[in-house]
Point group: C2
Chain length 310, copies 2
């Protein structure tokens, strides 16, 4: 069995974003039940319900731990303890790595990531706050099955298969002089998490387009969490709050001919959930027409605190 | 007039710390009103109640913004806006700089810090997420009066005088082979914030000892927020949750012959508030004997959301 806990459903900046001043942000801040606050994208997964693996570590991680009893120490554990045994990173976006800075204080756990992402952490001395005597950093092979282990090498009953998907290097690592901003394979990963009985699901919080390879991989899957950043490619420009398209940011859109809903239509995925949803995406507003269309196409919208047993 | 808003009262890790498993942490997580949750140390200050300057940017900043209407956009402002006009840094501790990572999305503001701290930010590429077209980084001279300005150079009606205090370089920058872990002057600052009428207060969230210079500076002050990390120097060792003394971490203790309460006894400071309080410090427990002693000596304990007009 795989226990899945959605820690945060929102893309970078969360919902509302700190400097958002549109009508939806005001509704959210005023406590409108149709627009609940959401923290930044991350899942926690567990085989036994006791030891948890984070899939990405969002800047909101401290708040997420305070809100979820599953991530708080077992009263029978030592005076300093945590059920968080490992963190698997899908890219080096701030909304996926900054949460590591909350996991200091000489607590043992393991970090898994592509070698390029681990190199980025190594090149930023602020991550030295994670004491190397306690925190192991382990590169993930591409498309191999890797048994996840805690910081002291004890197996966690889950494996990960990480694979590259189309995407873009993290914003803060962009090289304006290089083709495709210096993006290389491994900068954006999808993950397949599997338990010892063979039950598995996919977590792909960023993806720039559906490829035949990716479609073949996802066909018939029991559950896929997928990039729901923008509803339409030019949504931020039309709203007057940004200058970039989704494509420029490395995200395919939910809607449209080349969008995610269309791309999944014939894949036979049993349960499809949008996650990493930007504050501008109308999916975050209950009863919006766009949300109705997504739900009619068989999609769910991730919500902070959502729990799934698979 | 100076408006002061306590965004967070706790030292690094907050209260409770993510991996704390002692009785007080359990009381806090269970919602005991004597042990409310606290976020990490930061103040917001304003001359006009509209434009705010953060004194340090804690990892909890996104949550702090969501909790404090003063830091949310004015409904009459543009679609992307923030009342946060500047951030002044007292050191490079993770609990004081990591919050900067929440202030992305091409919003104009200014960062003030010692040149050594700004060099540390420049050396960590993750801070490139703060778009240099919008975010100015300005070195603070030591012991000179500097008028604070927003990211577009508009004055904010407040000035800062920054001065070095005894301390230690940030944990993640420690050099185990250098004397005093590589600490140099400027690694730990105190701040005096002053409005145009000459009203002023001090913010000193980390200080390793009281010197004659510092005592002379603080004598007769209207208000001082001061380092309340530990109640006693060996508190973490005695509690079985750490191996370091307060002295080793660059903090003087509240109690004891060389402690803060004793050091302030003859200074005639009108209002004294402990801030940057560690999760192990019994000051966080209402009705604790230690809190009673601090209050009897004329001290207050900072609390998240506390507001002061000076």
């Amino acid at each position: 069995m795989i226990h899945i806990l959605v820690l945060g459903a929102a893309a970078g900046g969360g919902f509302p974003q700190w400097n958002s001043n549109d009508a939806v942000a005001h509704r959210a801040r005023a406590g409108d039940p149709d627009t609940p606050l959401r923290t930044q994208s991350s899942l926690a997964v567990s085989a036994d319900g006791k030891n948890w693996v984070l899939l990405n570590a969002s800047p909101d991680l401290r708040q997420q731990i305070n809100q979820r009893r599953q991530l708080q120490p077992d009263p029978n554990a030592p005076l300093r303890a945590s059920p968080i045994a490992a963190v698997v990173l899908t890219n080096a976006d701030v909304d996926h790595v900054a949460g590591l800075l909350n996991l200091r204080e000489s607590q043992a756990f393991a970090i898994y990531g592509h070698a390029r992402v681990l190199d980025v952490l190594a090149g930023n001395s602020i991550f030295n706050v994670l004491n190397p005597d306690f925190v192991a950093r382990r590169p993930m092979p591409m498309d191999g099955v890797l048994a996840l282990k805690d910081g002291r090498d004890a197996p966690l009953g889950l494996s990960v298969r990480a694979f590259p998907v189309p995407g873009k290097v993290a914003l803060w690592l962009e090289d304006g002089n290089a083709p495709d901003f210096g993006t290389a394979e491994g900068d954006t990963l999808g993950l397949e998490i599997r338990d010892e009985d063979g039950t598995s699901f996919f977590y792909i919080p960023a993806c720039a387009r559906m490829t035949p390879d990716l479609a073949a991989r996802l066909r018939g899957a029991a559950l896929v969490f997928f990039d729901g950043t923008l509803w339409r490619d030019d949504e931020m420009i039309r709203a007057g709050v940004g200058t970039k398209t989704g494509r420029r940011m490395g995200h395919m859109s939910c809607d449209g001919e080349e969008g995610t809903i269309a791309a999944f239509a014939a894949l036979g995925v049993q349960r499809k959930i949008f996650i990493h949803i930007n504050n501008t995406n109308p999916l975050f507003v209950a009863h919006s027409p766009e949300r109705g269309r997504a739900e009619a196409a068989g999609w769910q919208i991730a919500d902070d605190g959502m729990e799934i047993c698979l």
